[in-house]
């Protein structure tokens, strides 16, 4: 789990900041204004899809986890 800093007061702002700096995240995490269906975004342990989605508020102290589906077992 690599840690990166990003700025923004909502999940949308945060992801847009991240994608502007790491464009490869666009297709893998956040493309065309949507979180990719095979990626989950958690703010303080809660899936943002169960909250306000991209408008979920992120505070200074929040931990945001971008979680891709992962299938490896070998």
């Amino acid at each position: 789990m690599r840690e990166v800093d990003a700025t923004g007061s909502t999940v949308r702002e945060l992801l847009e900041d991240l994608v502007s700096r790491i464009p490869a995240l666009g297709s893998r995490v956040y493309g065309e204004g949507e979180i990719q269906p095979f990626v989950n975004v958690y703010v303080d342990g809660e899936d943002v899809r169960t909250r306000e989605g991209l408008e979920t508020v992120v505070r200074d102290t929040s931990t945001v986890i971008l979680l891709p589906a992962m299938a490896g077992g070998r």
């Binding site: 789990m1 899936d47 979680l67 077992g73 070998r74």
Partner: protein, 382 residues
């Protein structure tokens, strides 16, 4: 100074003694059999928990945590249990009672009894460290010995899982894997060895399990799980699945089948330094499709060249899966249902996120849209 008789009489005067009828009227009461192990073996009151008098003080709070719970204590005749009731009152229990006449009167008056199944002396020795734990004990060990666990994959996650499940005395282990052991496996797949290079992984794992614990009945399936064979394999009857597959198509097949059949899945996955563990318990918690409704498109799954895994990582993640499997099989503890545990080996950090059951889940939701197996296109996700 007082004699035993005087002490007994005084103790009985201080505590509550109840007969069988009144004891059975105490709603929600915990029944504790405080006799010695050999007395318990010869039969006990159904539903009672065995806590020998000698261990009463140290173990009772583990068995009856809530001190407002009424407790019915019994021994053979009602004398040892009178002293035990006094002890529980001193420990702060609100309502301890001693059963008048004990097990002898209970049985004489035609009360129902349970004759416990017991472990052989050899098994008692092998599993002694489990038997010493009150939460497992003989009852839990018997449950493990009766349990049937199916492992998907005998690789990185399947290796530690198969060895620890076997060591724990899980009675029947099924193993599905189509691969052959090669040199690159030995960096992490500890069920295999130089001696089994070039042999099927299921046979190699079976050999390692038999060398560790011949009590375990190992069923091998040297095949790749597909929509064609999954029903045949699951028809063999499994209580629990430990998923250590290495690809998305298998993960989704296992998920869909387990939801339809109501079989809990202990899920684990790894990539480089990262691991994920959770328990999918059909209809009680979310399923894999509640977490990720569809696999990622092949072009976005990590490629083989980008792959790789720290050798010890599957050891950690596979062991966490085994912990969940043993708890589910023994019926103890709080399984990782609705919680996804994330482990990062580089920073040595655990994180936990909540997974909710989705009403719109295509498989376990209110209006399922997937009702038959889907064979997703195979792509590399190691």
């Amino acid at each position: 100074m007082s004699t035993y008789r005087e002490l007994l009489a005084r103790t009985k005067a201080e505590i509550s003694e109840v007969d069988a009828r009144r004891a059975q009227d105490l709603s929600g009461a915990a029944w504790i059999d405080i006799r010695e192990a050999d007395e318990w073996q010869e039969g006990h009151i159904p539903g009672a928990v065995h806590v020998p008098r000698g261990n009463l003080e140290s173990r009772i709070e583990g068995v009856v945590a809530d001190k407002t719970t009424p407790v019915v204590l019994y021994c053979a005749s009602g004398n040892r249990s009178a002293f035990a009731a006094k002890t529980l009152a001193e420990l702060g229990y609100d309502s301890p009672h001693s059963l008048v006449g004990g097990f002898t009167d209970w049985k004489r008056n035609g009360g129902e009894i349970t004759l416990p199944r017991t472990l052989s002396p050899e098994k008692r020795t092998r599993y002694s460290r489990h038997l010493l734990i009150p939460e497992i004990g003989e009852e839990g060990q018997l449950k493990l010995l009766d349990s049937r666990v199916l492992l998907i994959g005998a690789g990185g996650l399947g290796s530690p899982a198969s060895l620890y499940l076997a060591a724990a005395g899980v009675g029947t282990l099924g193993i599905i894997d189509a691969d052959i052991v090669d040199e690159t496996n030995l960096q992490r797949q500890i069920a295999h060895s130089l001696d089994t290079l070039g042999t099927p992984k299921v046979d190699s794992a079976k050999r390692a399990i038999n060398a560790l614990n011949p009590d375990v009945d190992v069923r091998t399936y040297r095949e790749r799980l597909t929509s064609e064979n999954i029903d045949r394999i699951l028809d063999d009857g499994w209580d629990l699945i430990v998923d250590g597959a290495d690809n998305f198509p298998t993960r989704y097949l296992v998920n869909d089948a387990s939801v339809w059949r109501g079989i809990p899945v202990v899920h684990g996955s790894i990539y480089r330094f990262e691991g994920q563990v959770t328990v999918f318990k059909p209809h009680e918690g979310p399923c894999y499709r509640c977490l990720f409704p569809e696999p990622p498109p092949p072009e976005l799954a990590p490629s083989c060249a980008e792959g790789g895994v720290l050798g010890v990582l599957p050891g950690i993640v596979g062991s966490l899966q085994t912990n969940e499997a043993i708890k589910l099989a023994a019926g103890i503890g709080e399984p990782l249902v609705g919680r996804l545990l994330l482990f990062d080996a580089l920073s040595t950090e655990f994180n936990e996120v909540r997974i909710e059951r989705r009403a719109d889940c295509p498989v376990c939701g209110d209006h399922p849209t997937i009702t038959e197996y889907i064979d997703y296109v195979e792509f590399c996700a190691r």
